[in-house]
């Protein structure tokens, strides 16, 4: 008798669990999961990202002031920002800034530099060929691939347009 009751209970409860249908559960989880603090994140992304841009502008002004032409000043500024990001990544500071800044450090050229250098540091233990060489672009790779692809596509469209409208 007891086993029959037990069996009934098991069925009842397993049904209780099965009521947890996949779709319903996914919706339940999504509804209750705490969202990232978007306003706060936006604020820090804006301020930090903006600060990086101001630093960039100041660098351009500095290089122009030193007598370098405008185009070369831009290139030098990019190089300075990339170098600084890589250095901060190596010193273990960059990820702490990025934890607060989010898109503020990710979107400018700093994020790209960090994605490449952090991967290089990480894979060094597997050697310079199979580690660093093979895996350095694991995170930044998609950006390069699709940047080249969209650049090519834009070039083709531009070329066709110039053929038609001269």
């Amino acid at each position: 008798m007891l086993s029959i009751i037990n069996l009934y209970l098991v069925k009842l409860f397993s049904k209780g669990c099965d009521i947890l249908k996949k779709q319903e559960y996914i919706e339940y989880v999504e509804k209750r999961a705490k969202r990232s603090p978007i306003l706060k994140n936006c604020f820090f992304a804006f301020t930090v990202g903006g600060t990086i841009c101001i630093i960039g502008q100041l660098l351009i002004d500095l290089y122009t002031y030193l007598g370098i032409n405008k185009e070369d000043s831009g290139t030098l500024t990019s190089i300075t920002l990339i170098f600084t990001s890589c250095l901060l990544t190596g010193l273990g500071v960059f990820d702490n800034i990025a934890r607060v800044a989010g898109a503020g450090t990710l979107v400018p050229i700093t994020g790209f530099a960090n994605a490449v250098s952090s991967q290089a540091i990480d894979t060094k233990s597997e050697g310079y060929v199979l580690g660093v060489g093979a895996k350095i672009f694991t995170i930044a790779g998609p950006v390069i691939v699709y940047a080249v692809l969209s650049g090519t596509l834009y070039g083709v469209i531009y070329y066709i347009c110039t053929l038609i409208w001269g």
């Binding site: 086993s3 037990n6 069996l7 209970l9 098991v10 409860f13 397993s14 209780g16 669990c17 947890l20 996949k22 779709q23 559960y25 996914i26 339940y28 989880v29 209750r32 999961a33 705490k34 969202r35 990232s36 994140n41 990544t89 190596g90 273990g92 960059f94 990820d95 800034i97 990025a98 934890r99 800044a101 989010g102 450090t105 990710l106 994020g111 960090n114 994605a115 250098s117 952090s118 991967q119 540091i121 990480d122 894979t123 233990s125 995170i139």
Partner: protein, 331 residues
């Protein structure tokens, strides 16, 4: 119908436990209880993977020494971790002259090892064994997420892989008995978010708990603590909420290893700790000693694990999870 709960008639004992942790765990609420720690998480090694092996090595050595047994008296080593092919365990275990079974259950590995070891000892196939698991934040992060120095933001439901290793010697001597074991089923409720593993694992814990209490003579109140490892904040809330809906109230005595190991507010670990090492060190350093001293009489330990790989996730797969239950009691 056959009762799925395995009752261990000979009641094997946990003779000794030993814990090794990283610096963040040392700074956490349980910091003073751990046996060993490393300031820089490297344990004197040059790679994170070797550091993880070193933790296991130290944990096994410590546990065997504390149990009073000699190495040759241990019949079997049950070891597992999170890395591909369980390499941390394999390399650590080469230092011992003991037969070895590699086990994998993600974060449930500690409960799996304890349960399996206790069953083997209970059946008298072996006299004693050592169960050990580990996880390392740095080696796991590399394998499952991003490079360590990568600047990204985590979502509030993300969990932090604990750096630590816990080892347990199971045998005939000791004050902590393993009385019941219930192995879990792999459950997949369609969660695909790697940053919400608590939600992926909660259904498996619900399944195991419901199966346990429908087949057991005990009610949730019988237990001093019902400890899940490691659902984190999000998973624990889901578990308690949905179990209440099933008529099982564990809100009074539920604890989660992921929430015990770290200070959620101060340590910036978001939803709490995770990883094989998380529940292992909490059990080894906090719960087992309390059972030995008699402060706790009956404890249900539920190890939960998310059984996915980054590749299946990229392919759009969801996260299956498992939950093994071990009933520990104090003599």
């Amino acid at each position: 119908m056959k009762n799925p709960i395995i009752t261990l008639k000979n009641q094997p004992k946990i003779s000794a436990s030993y814990s090794v942790v990283g610096h963040l765990e040392k700074e956490g609420p349980l910091g003073n209880l751990f046996d060993e720690y490393s300031d820089n998480d490297k344990f004197g090694k040059d790679t994170w993977e070797k550091a993880e092996s070193e933790m296991q090595l130290r944990a096994v050595k410590g546990a065997i020494k504390r149990s009073g047994l000699n190495e040759y008296e241990i019949d079997l080593l049950l070891a597992g971790d999170l890395l591909n092919q369980c390499v941390s365990s394999s390399y650590a275990i080469t230092n011992f002259d003991i037969p070895y079974l590699g086990i994998y259950g993600a974060c449930s590995t500690c409960a799996e090892g304890l349960g399996l070891g206790a069953c083997l000892c209970d059946s008298k196939i072996i006299d004693s064994c050592c169960a050990v698991t580990s996880s390392h934040y740095c080696s796991s992060e590399r394998q499952f997420r991003f490079p360590l120095e990568y600047g990204g933001q985590r979502t509030p439901t993300a969990q932090w892989t604990a750096t630590g290793s816990g080892a347990f010697v199971i045998g005939n001597e000791g004050k902590t008995k393993v009385t019941e074991v219930l192995f879990g089923k792999a459950i997949d409720k369609g969660i695909t978010d790697i940053n919400n593993m608590g939600a992926a694992m909660a259904p498996s814990a619900i399944d195991t708990i419901v199966r346990y209490f429908t087949n057991s003579e005990h009610s949730p109140d019988y237990f001093d603590k019902i400890i899940t490892g490691d659902l984190g904040f999000e998973g624990s809330e889901i578990l308690k909420d949905l179990l209440l809906g099933n008529g099982i109230d564990i809100t009074k005595n539920h604890m989660d290893c992921g929430l015990m190991l770290f200070d959620k507010e101060k340590q910036d670990v978001h939803a709490g700790g995770s990883g094989c090492g998380c529940s292992a060190v909490v059990m080894a350093a906090d719960i087992i000693p309390k059972l030995e001293s008699g402060e706790l009489k009956n404890v249900l330990f539920l190890g939960t694990g998310a059984l996915m790989s980054p590749m299946t996730l990229f392919q759009g797969g969801s996260i299956p999870a498992i939950c093994h239950l071990v009933h520990l009691s104090s003599e």
